[in-house]
Amino acid sequence: MQRVRIHYFKGEALQYIGNLDLHKVWERTFRRARVPLAYSQGFHPQPRMHQACPLPLGFTSQVELLDFWCDSEESLAELQSKLEKSVQPGIEIQTLTNVPLKSPPLQTIVESAVYYVTLPEDCDLDPIQEKVNQLNRLEICMRDRRGKQYDLRPLIKELTFSAGQPATIYMRLMAMPGATGRPEEVLEELGISPFVVDVVRTELTLLPVPEEVENNV
């Protein structure tokens, strides 16, 4: 048994495919590749896979992570070559690495995520710079998410605007269970429709893994 972490790009072809469906896409990729996933025990055995952090629909990403448990002792290079031949258009596998079996679930160790927003050419840039500055100056920014009040401000770790060609916004948002900032909410706060921009997730920061796990590969 080994546990392997895949780092992959999620491209435009899969931008409207949600997290649950993506799980199935991967499951079928493994079956096509004849990579034997380990299954959970019980009445409804499920393949053992974890994804890091759901990507909102309509966005692409250069930092998707997936952990899987597999019964084969094949090398990472062999696994990667098999998976690359079977993978769905829209997924580009970057690297495979081994992870300690007892390492905590992937979704519990994400700390923050970076989103890179490209604005359309016909966008009026002046008010955006001003709004970015304003938002950065705020101490609290109360918003409503599905009828619940929450403060967006502490979820924003970094927010910068650059008026190049094209103009871009860089944002680092918290991505911890129960404290996740959503890029479309920041965009709304800046008065930008999330439907006209391109959003790419470019970075995921993971919490450090405890030492006793690290030593126990």
Binding site: A13, Y16, G18, V25, E27, R31, Y39
Partner: protein, 624 residues
Amino acid sequence: MLNRIEIKKKLKAILPTVVKPGRYFGGEFNHVVKNWDEIGLRMALVFPDIYDIGVPNLGISILYETINERPDTLCERAYVPWLDMEEAMRENSLPLYTLESCTPLAEFDVIGFTLPYETLYTNVLNAIDLAGLPLRSTDRNDSHPIIIAGGHAAYNPEPMSAFIDAFVIGEGEEAIHDVLDCIKSAKTENLSRLQTLEQLQAIPGIYVPAFYDVTYNKNGSVQSVDPTSPKFPKKIVKRVVGILPDPPTHFIVPSIDVVHNRIAVEIMRGCTRGCRFCHAGMVNRPVRERSVEQIVNAIEESMKNTGYEEIALLSLSSSDYTQIEELVSTISEKFAGRNLVISLPSLRIETFAVGLMEKLKGVRQGGFTLAPEAATDRMRNLINKPIQAEQLLETARQIYSRGWNSIKLYFMIGHPFETMEDVQAIADLCKQVIKEGRKIIGNKASLHTGVSTFVPKSHTPFQWTALDSIPNVLDKQNLLKDQLRTPGMKMTWSNPRETILEATLSRGDRRLSNVIEDAWRHGAKFDAWMDQFNYNLWIDALEGAGLPPEIYTSREREISEVLPWDHISTGISRKYLEREYKKALAGETTEDCRDQCLACGIIPTLTDQLKEKDGVNWVCLEAS
């Protein structure tokens, strides 16, 4: 009309606002994208319901694969958008487009609809309209695509005849290539639309309704259907393939969840049982089987190509597949331990079936489904599905004692001459079944009864019979609901108003084209969806056309009457259907035709088609 780039740009703004945007974006594993500019002939296949229902359709899967194997043709897919997406498309002037290349449907040479059932008809109109095309064949010109349709409902093409240019009657595997060859040469020779349709009508199995005239009697029934010129055949005989070709193995693997996520392999086509209500059993004759090797290879190949976790072995009567034991044991050995679900529906009610299912049972399993259809000997004899009650109970005992907690039984009410005693017998039988289950596994035992209403169908021995009335059906349903919804028991039933619509459309004539259009113009669509179906629109449309629904539904038809589909031949002779109808009325059963040929007419009518491939005379499968 918008071009591809404009469509893609608009989609970017629209898709985040609709439910399940993955339905409208394509990009699935195994989709085929060819270079539009390098290929001369382009066809769009349309399933007239949403993506989730259309993707698993086996007919579309077969055609998509076989058409795309042609180097001279490209074939792309479209589905009907759900209400939210339709609204957004209409607001943004976005035409119906194919998923592979975002090309508007209007730019294709051919559009092909599959018509598996009648309640999709309004969706076909909606799709044609969303494509920006005139609805009616007569309003389309040389600049428009040729619109063809096929599938089970097309065996009575008349109700949809105003909208479809040409129907393919029967099996599509070979016929579609004849159609494409014809349209290709028509395109090269720059033929007019009319000339192209004339050439299509010359292909066996193709029906161009514009070349046929219908007259009516004073009482509303059909008087005659005649070709407009002696060069067109009086009867259109369905197409069949003598030998089943290899099944498709490159199924589209959608990236979102759809109704069936599986590899479907047709192990056999046709059925010899002769249940008198069964449209599929009549129109799909003769029986043709695939070999065990062919099936197993197809599964292996499909597994490699799709990664699906579920396999369905399809046929109308799996127990009648002559190599069923060998097939089941080969599959259970080969695919064991791979966390797969393998289903084998349509099993006969006998303990042998339980043994088969046991072999296929993986880690996961669903319920066990059986279709007794009726519960008294009188009704079973009438519909020609004789099963002993004890045989059903013994099968149920075996199922419950061999690891299944749940059984699903399918019954049909509204058979001709059915009484309340016959319906009460259904309730009694179900109670006996659950009682057996409780004896074996206690309160874990559950029973789900599906009660549908019999709809008389064209081309069956019951094509002359009346549909049961709404008050009768409601009484019968209420009787069952009172008794079959106790702890451990669940019952589902069909809306009698939907049944009326299905019965009207399935035995209707071409005057219904006006009705379908009128209903659609007033908002009818997704008639197969319980929450979307609007009966009143249909009643108003029938009234507006001066057609009382009774002439199609509650009226028993005379044997001498010309039926709207009499010019369409399934190969089965009218004499055979009449004989079976009379035997039904007399309460006589008919044996399986494998035991004794019943001269249904299939062999003499289809013999040329059947022997074409191997040159030898074709014979039906006999009992082994």
